[in-house]
């Protein structure tokens, strides 16, 4: 259950509403560090999280995107991870990572069509467990930027539970949710329906287009991570101030 700030918007899967205190990830990480047993995960929590009132322009971030075998985190698994390091002023490709992983469930044909990663590629790829240490090191101390946190948050959590018996929590800025705050304040009313007003699409490509960002081909984890990173810069430049506290954005 997470409070996502004064904008007070119902997010698609966090299911929480209402005004409340700022979500304090630094405090939450202390708690998690004290009760986590797995050493790599414990080290991740011990690295801490930025304070909730840190101005967004000072927050180190990692844009993250997964390609998966399907959409059900309890059954499906991750086939690739793209990571791009960023802050409000610069996205740095030098530190970008891109892994193809061997999922523990079968690669389904429908998903192959989407992300284009083939059976032979995943056969030769490592299990997530083999790159976990490196992944957690990269994530340490950073706020994670995603488009639709339902995927990255739930899948990483489920994948770790499956592999090390413990799940993971991490602070996320969800560019989809930031779009939703603007375009999904209320369900379309009678008048909207009468005039055939469509719901504004908050999909990644459509959201980017609203900020005049270029079209990138979707469904490559690295490109999608980059696409989310650029979208966040555009959203903040348009709708927030550089000094907005990170707690106004994260969840």
């Amino acid at each position: 259950m997470f409070y996502i700030g004064k904008e007070d918007v119902k997010s698609e899967e966090s299911g929480s509403t209402g005004k409340g205190d700022r979500l304090d990830w630094a405090k939450r990480f202390e708690e998690l560090a004290s009760r986590t047993r797995h050493p790599q995960l414990k080290a991740y929590y011990e690295a801490g999280a930025v304070a909730a009132d840190t101005p967004i322009e000072q927050v180190p971030m990692i844009a993250m995107d997964f390609e998966t075998t399907g959409i059900d985190a309890s059954r499906d698994d991750i086939v690739s991870i793209g990571l791009v390091s960023m802050n409000l002023h610069r996205i740095r490709l030098r530190d970008a990572r891109h892994w193809i992983l061997k999922p523990r469930t079968d690669l389904r044909e429908e998903s192959v069509v989407i992300h284009g990663i083939t059976h032979s590629e995943v056969e030769a790829a490592p299990d997530l467990k083999r790159i976990l240490e490196e992944l957690l090191e990269v994530m340490a101390g950073q706020v994670i930027v995603v488009h639709h946190k339902g995927i990255e948050r739930n899948f990483l959590n489920a994948a770790l539970k499956r592999r090390i018996g413990e799940g993971i929590e991490f602070p996320v800025i969800d560019t989809l949710e930031l779009e939703a705050r603007l375009h999904r304040r209320k369900p379309p009313g009678f008048i909207d329906k009468l005039f055939g007003r469509e719901k504004v699409s908050i999909r990644l490509a459509d959201s980017r287009a609203r900020y005049h960002l270029p079209h990138y081909r979707p469904h490559d984890a690295l490109t999608d991570a980059l696409a989310s990173a650029e979208l966040l810069q555009a959203q903040v430049a348009t709708r927030f101030s550089k000094t907005s506290p990170v707690a106004d954005l994260w969840s």
Partner: protein, 633 residues
Amino acid sequence: MQAEHLEIIDFLRRHQPFATLSEETLAKVATEVEISYFKSGTQILEFGQLTESLYVIRSGAVEIYRRNGDLYNRLSEGGFFGEFALLRHKRTRFPAVALEDTLIYLIPEETFTELFEENELFADFVEVEDRTRLRQTVARKEDANELMTSEINVLVTREAIMLDTRATAHEAAKRMSEEGVSSLLILHHTDAPGHPDDADSPTHPVMAGLITDRDLRNRLLAKGLSYDTPVTDIMTTDLIHVEHSQLVFEAMLAMLRYNVHHLPVLKHQQPIGVIALSDIIRYESQNSLFVVSSIFRAQTVEELKGLVSEVRACFTRMVREDANSRMIGSAMAVIGRSFKQRLLELGEEKLGPPPVPYCFLALGSMARQEQLIVSDQDNAMILDNSFDPDKHDAYFLKLAEFVSDGLAACGYTYCKGDIMATNRTWRKPLRVWEQYFTEWIDKPTPKSLLNSSIFFDLDGVWGKTEWADRLNRLINRKTRHNSIFLACMARNALLRTPPLGFFKDFVMEPSGQHTQSIDMKRRGTAPLADLIRVHSLAVGSKSRNSFERLKDIINADILPHGRGQDLRDALEFISTVRIRHQALDLEAGNDPDNRIEPENLSDFERKNLKDAFQILSNAQKFLKYRYQPGRVN
């Protein structure tokens, strides 16, 4: 796993200067890119700000300003900036503002420096000074095309074999065999002191004639003359010659035009060699120029008209073979001139010999040897001073009409300003022409010169061409130190200005306005030719071709250092683009014109054209300053 940034690589590959890099290098550069988003209206770079990257526009639009706040450039996708600062003091010279929401790919300094140092093409493209970039573009094109831009010098591989006028035919034949040559120059060594031409060096030999294998066969053996016949009896006199600095293909044209196979080459009036047709054939150049000889073989206007498609084919072929603009302009001028000459021959056959001598004039681009495929016929007639309108004018009007209609049939449209010999005003005796020029030069008004400046590029085509030379000398003499006249000419030369550059698929004007297309003649080559003409009159140049005039202007040293060369490069590049687009029109089966839509320009052309326009614009500012009325030059 090494991250591969497909979108970044794809983008870089599509745009200069990155398009010149190998795939491997591109992939590596992509991993070093940094990215930043700038909302519309945001300052991207401030004056004096330290720059640590090259800024490449991924999407959106950016305006670059001069320090004084003038708009310097407007860039869109694929445009880059910040290179000045990176290559110099690392402080921003040109501030940049996002005109639209803009995504920038930044190439960090280290990466940029490495690319700049290790990739020549990359370095050329982002070179510090705009004009340098243009110079390299033009120079590289010329390298690729060495044969067609070579000067006659390169054909002269050995000294001329010469013999004195006192030698016999036998001696000549012996000498030719010994030397293994097919021709000999015959020199006259004058001993007569006080000869006016040789006052400074009385022993200077004078070229008297040329003797060839064929002369020995036709004029000696076939006629059964004695071996002791003096060479002077069988040699060819009244030689057509070429200057060592003319272009090889001009020598070829001279051979075609005069139907000779050997041409003496002169340097400072002295023969330095002889070139033969075979020397040129070895250079295997534009066979298409044989169209000139077809023109002279045509017996009727209908036949001439039938050659139009050959002329067009010749033009497109030269463009495809990367001939430079001077060659194409010159070839087209020779073709146009040949049409006129042949039409005048045919006209005289039809109407009978002229009642008094006359000279037919070419004006404007033909006189400057800068004619292209789309051309008006600008012409005039000088008549003998004994001309009596009542008795003679009917003949010359008919002749003028015959030529003008014939030219129109051959694709040279009637002059809209009616500057044609069919117009009585431009069909006058020599003394009237002299009055015309005296009036224009002594009492100039910008308005009178607006209509008459075309007469300041004139060339005799047919008949008493020495009268054209006489008018040119008069122009030379009267204009050179005439600051009021020059100021008037300069003012007219500033009436047509270049655009600022391109933005997306529009032409951008200095006001920031956009237009759909650009007239490359009106906004490019014409104002260049105009301003070059003013300088050339000021330095007393006798050349008419703009490139030749520029040489004289550079030698006279009246421009700031390097600016003459810049103008040459700008003229060459703008002309080349204009020519190339006319050729594309022809190949697509459209009527060629001078208008170009930016969507049809490559990135490379846009960038270089922008540089060329900038050079023209600066040169116009200088022209205005230099020829202010009352300023002593």
